[in-house]
């Protein structure tokens, strides 16, 4: 920009230009900071939810080749015992999140929302569910009680059912 040299003029422009730029920069900075803070505000640091680990009794409480509804209402978990071993299934349909029903006579889990069907081991075989039910981290506590941690899920389609933390072997 070729301008006649004037008092206050420099490589950066006049004093007026400097304040023009600085003013807008300050506004932009304040606005960006406010926007960032407002967006971050929507993600709470603390949620008042229950602890994810719960005690589920002893292995002998669960009959061989059975699906237990004991913890369904309180924890949304089925305890399944079969020839694979003992494991916990999260009772949340992998389609859109409804709670499926265990149908003893048909030997399958059936979701009432859109008809997804799962085998007792959790694998999906009918309906819109795209993947098997999730297994939850299962272990034995120091007193021999079964401990289930709902904070850690294992997905069959990612090969995670091979992880020893997802099942108590017979």
């Amino acid at each position: 920009m070729s301008r006649a040299a004037s008092p206050g003029a420099s490589l950066w422009g006049s004093r007026r230009d400097f304040f023009h730029v600085t003013g807008w920069a300050a506004f932009l900075a304040a606005f960006s900071a406010t926007l960032t803070a407002s967006l971050r505000f929507f993600y709470p640091n603390v949620v008042f939810e229950r602890p994810t680990i719960f005690r589920a009794g002893f292995a002998q409480d669960y009959a061989p080749n059975s699906v237990s509804l004991r913890w369904l209402k309180d924890q949304r978990v089925w305890i399944v015992r079969n020839e694979e071993g003992l494991f916990a299934l999260h009772a949340k349909c992998t389609h859109l999140g409804c709670t499926p029903q265990w149908r003893e006579s048909e030997n399958k889990f059936k979701c009432p929302c859109h008809g997804s069907g799962f085998y007792p081991n959790g694998v999906n075989f009918e309906g819109p569910a795209p993947r098997p039910l999730e297994r939850l981290k299962i272990s034995l506590g120091p007193d021999g009680q079964i401990l289930i941690d709902k904070g850690r899920a294992f997905r069959q389609e990612r090969g995670e059912w091979r992880d020893p933390e997802s099942i108590l072997k017979a």
């Binding site: 993600y43 709470p44 939810e49 999140g97 409804c98 929302c113």
Partner: protein
């Protein structure tokens, strides 16, 4: 004292003159002033094309939608006196409104009916505008504003649906917000996901990992304050645009 004399006296007072700027006798002047001097009525365009005067031109659908919005605001505000967005009492508060509060049943039902009707009328209004080609230049921006208003209307319905805190509400919102986990980038299960279940879009919507007390209060604030404010601002722009551009004409006119 004759009626005319009393009326004349009242009309000559300073109070009356301040409130009413024109008389009601059927003259052209009074008719013009009635429209021009009224904040609500003068929102209509100054000039209207002859073909647009027919009611069947627009069926008044935009106006009906706005009227329903006002009904919802009024009934909604009244409902707020008896409803608390706390999971411990929200359901019971709705029962209260239905069976105990005087005219509570009417109020709650009016609110719900107006909500469903408003969704229907905004779609019909959109259809009418489309059929008339009233989105063509110079009205493209107003069409876009209208599309955003449509989204806001649907969001108002969605957020309001949770508030009765019954089975229908809980599961509908569970299913609806689960879809947010599939958002690209910002959803925990979406393509190119950069977040986990603890900080994805669904978490921000619900304020927790599942629908619960945080979700209820958040949806209440969106429903009563956030979304109506946004809708009001956009409606002001939308109406102002119609006033400035006028009603559209037959094809190849304007």
């Amino acid at each position: 004292m004759a009626i005319e004399t009393i009326l004349k006296k009242i009309k000559s007072t300073a109070v009356w003159q301040s409130v009413f700027r024109h008389d009601w006798a059927d003259t052209s002047r009074n008719r013009s002033l009635a429209i021009a001097g009224n904040v609500f009525l003068h929102l209509h365009p100054v000039r209207v094309r002859p073909h647009a005067v027919r009611m069947t031109y627009s069926w008044g659908l935009g106006g009906i939608s706005f009227f329903l919005f006002l009904v919802l605001t009024f009934t909604g505000a009244l409902l707020m006196f008896y409803y608390v967005p706390d999971t411990g009492r929200a359901y019971e508060d709705i029962q209260d409104l239905r069976y105990v509060v005087p005219f509570g049943r009417l109020l709650r039902n009016a609110h719900r009916w107006a909500a469903h009707l408003m969704v229907i009328t905004v779609w019909l209004h959109m259809l009418r505008v489309f059929m008339h080609g009233a989105y063509r230049p110079p009205r493209q921006f107003n069409w876009v504003v209208g599309a955003v208003l449509l989204v806001l209307t649907l969001l108002l319905s969605f957020t309001g649906y949770l508030l009765p805190w019954d089975q229908l509400a809980f599961w509908a919102i569970t299913v609806g917000t689960n879809m947010a986990t599939s958002t690209p980038l910002l959803g925990a299960e979406g393509p190119f996901s950069v977040v986990t279940y603890d900080n994805d879009l669904r978490f921000a919507l619900l304020g927790a990992r599942a629908v619960g007390s945080n979700a209820l209060i958040r949806f209440y604030v969106w429903h009563c304050i956030g979304l109506p404010l946004a809708a009001s601002v956009l409606m002001a722009v939308h109406f102002w645009r119609v006033r400035k551009d006028g009603f559209s004409g037959p094809p190849n006119s304007d």
